[in-house]
Subunit: 386 residues, 2 copies
Amino acid sequence: MTPGILDGLELVEVSAFIAAPLAGLSLAQLGAEVIRVDQTGGGPDARRWPLGPGGESLYWQGLNKGKSSVHLDLRSPEGQARAAELIVQTGMVVTNRPDAGWLDYARLSERRPDLIMLAIRGTHDGQGAVDYTVQARTGLPFLTGPARGDAPVNQMLPAWDAVCGLLAAQGLLAAERRRRETGAGGLIRLSLEDCALWMMGNLGLLAEAELNAAPREASGNDVYGAFGTDFATRDGRRVMVGVLTPRHWRSLLEVTGTAEAMGHLARAFGVDLATDEGRYAARAAIKLRLAPWFQARDLAEIAAALDAHRVLWGPYQSVKELVADDPACSLGNPMFTRPDHAGAGRYLTPGTPLDFGLARDPARLRAPAQGGDTDRILGRLAAALA
Amino acid sequence: MTPGILDGLELVEVSAFIAAPLAGLSLAQLGAEVIRVDQTGGGPDARRWPLGPGGESLYWQGLNKGKSSVHLDLRSPEGQARAAELIVQTGMVVTNRPDAGWLDYARLSERRPDLIMLAIRGTHDGQGAVDYTVQARTGLPFLTGPARGDAPVNQMLPAWDAVCGLLAAQGLLAAERRRRETGAGGLIRLSLEDCALWMMGNLGLLAEAELNAAPREASGNDVYGAFGTDFATRDGRRVMVGVLTPRHWRSLLEVTGTAEAMGHLARAFGVDLATDEGRYAARAAIKLRLAPWFQARDLAEIAAALDAHRVLWGPYQSVKELVADDPACSLGNPMFTRPDHAGAGRYLTPGTPLDFGLARDPARLRAPAQGGDTDRILGRLAAALA
């Protein structure tokens, strides 16, 4: 592979599912050498959905691009010893398996005192948890979906896994920086649940629930605390429009020709529509007043008009439409290529979104065949030990 | 402040809303010195909801913990010159403003060739976009909410902002690592939309839409491609249960006493319930068979039984319940403290979820008063220039 930004960084991944593999993926795509180790025959996510037409896991391929894949019998003492040796040689490991037994930090660091291990757990006190179970606990499902709905609605994106995996990558980089400065390694713990609670706190949601008497309610597709909502178009499509600055508001009134009407509406409801608070208070009335403009036009006409006035908006579209029609999700976007994937053939595949102004390394654009690097990596390990 | 993991890392943030401030927050909580610069009087997110009882923005406080806050008149040449000088002195900047005019990388790097700038945009080609508009385009709202719903359901968490902010932090650390090795700075671009497309690709969703004829449908609160769903309890609560490994499945059958019944059910539907695929195919029938067990018990009894059998599960709860009742969201979790916040008083506040085994620095647990460090930082700048 050609040198990348993180040239020289080496990492073993003893991982499955999303968070830990995402940590390795994000680093691999910047040039780190990431060796993923799985049970011979494949780990618990080896055949995770979605599958391609030939039955390969598109999920596994997506999360393991740019890595090497090694299979070992991790249930046998020999396989565990080899995996431990690989970690000791490499000096850095990320895992979402229990950091105990052969994966115990104290044991491994006896053989390599500057070892860095980042161990992802379900909860801070070591209970099992996955995105779905953490999500239920956060309260967000009661804030998702129709206003005044009483049934929880799960968000479909495993967002907590994403936050956890990216924070893990950041923790590894921070730990490596410290190791370069001080020579010290260390065990870093991170729990999926803490990641969720951290983001809930960062967004003010925990403080709001603690300090304010009235609980927040679900608000459907409306933006909270400002004006933003969805509108139906004449041709059966739907768009999301957001107003986060005074300029956005002026643009929206201009393109819809409703500046004067909004003045009347402000007086009718006794609110100041120049502020986020006022627009949020009157959001239902604002939506009623604007809806006919959208309902009278097809999406193409709306898109042209909103873009001309620099309104902040986006079309709702299915994933199929995103892939088929959206120029951002095509080879026209320099992040994408269409490499040939083991078993699945060519499909549109993103490199890292971090654009350092360098060409993306073609060797880092696709996943290895599962277990396909076992002989090469173990041979190298044996040579190093000889 | 006491030394942190990222001791010596300095960063200017010219930012607003979530992604760019989150990049700085995640680094500040590991020990970086982060100076946030805003327009005098406050940037566009200075009073963003949720608000505390006194009207302060809990959102702003949440996203700016551990930083210094400087106010400058960025509309005047003098204010822009001071901000530019601060960036040149500091050597690293993250922004979600247009990187043009006084914030143009080429201009700034003339004065400091090893300057690192990470510039966050809406889309890769420089269009405006925010989480809401990007979310609409991803197709996820059509996969969220009731099965066979035709209306899109926005997820409430700004997950793309979170992914973007954490990738930005990773990009800054990677760039600083390269600078230490080679002396080179650089401009790194990152777009919110690319972050969303990247994660959609990482999860196999883009490939699935490209390769498979049948579009994926919304599946309500069910886990995709495995067995996982929500159940109602006798006392009107609800729990999320997930089965991601053979062990999870055995545990669930044990605690509910349904092993034999599931054998009959497998034969009735002609599926293999030992596999994710089989359990997904028969998920509605499995749910029907298990539901009475949950319906006959209160949450407390269910919790004790599921925990005793190590079933993967979580209770649905509101944010209010999370904050009031969940031990994970309390001072019992070492991530949390209850510092005194400007204007809002004491509330439960998370430090970084990355646990390096060190005490969290109390000075990094809360946000500054907006603009409160202006004189101190500008005085230091003037002294450095004298």
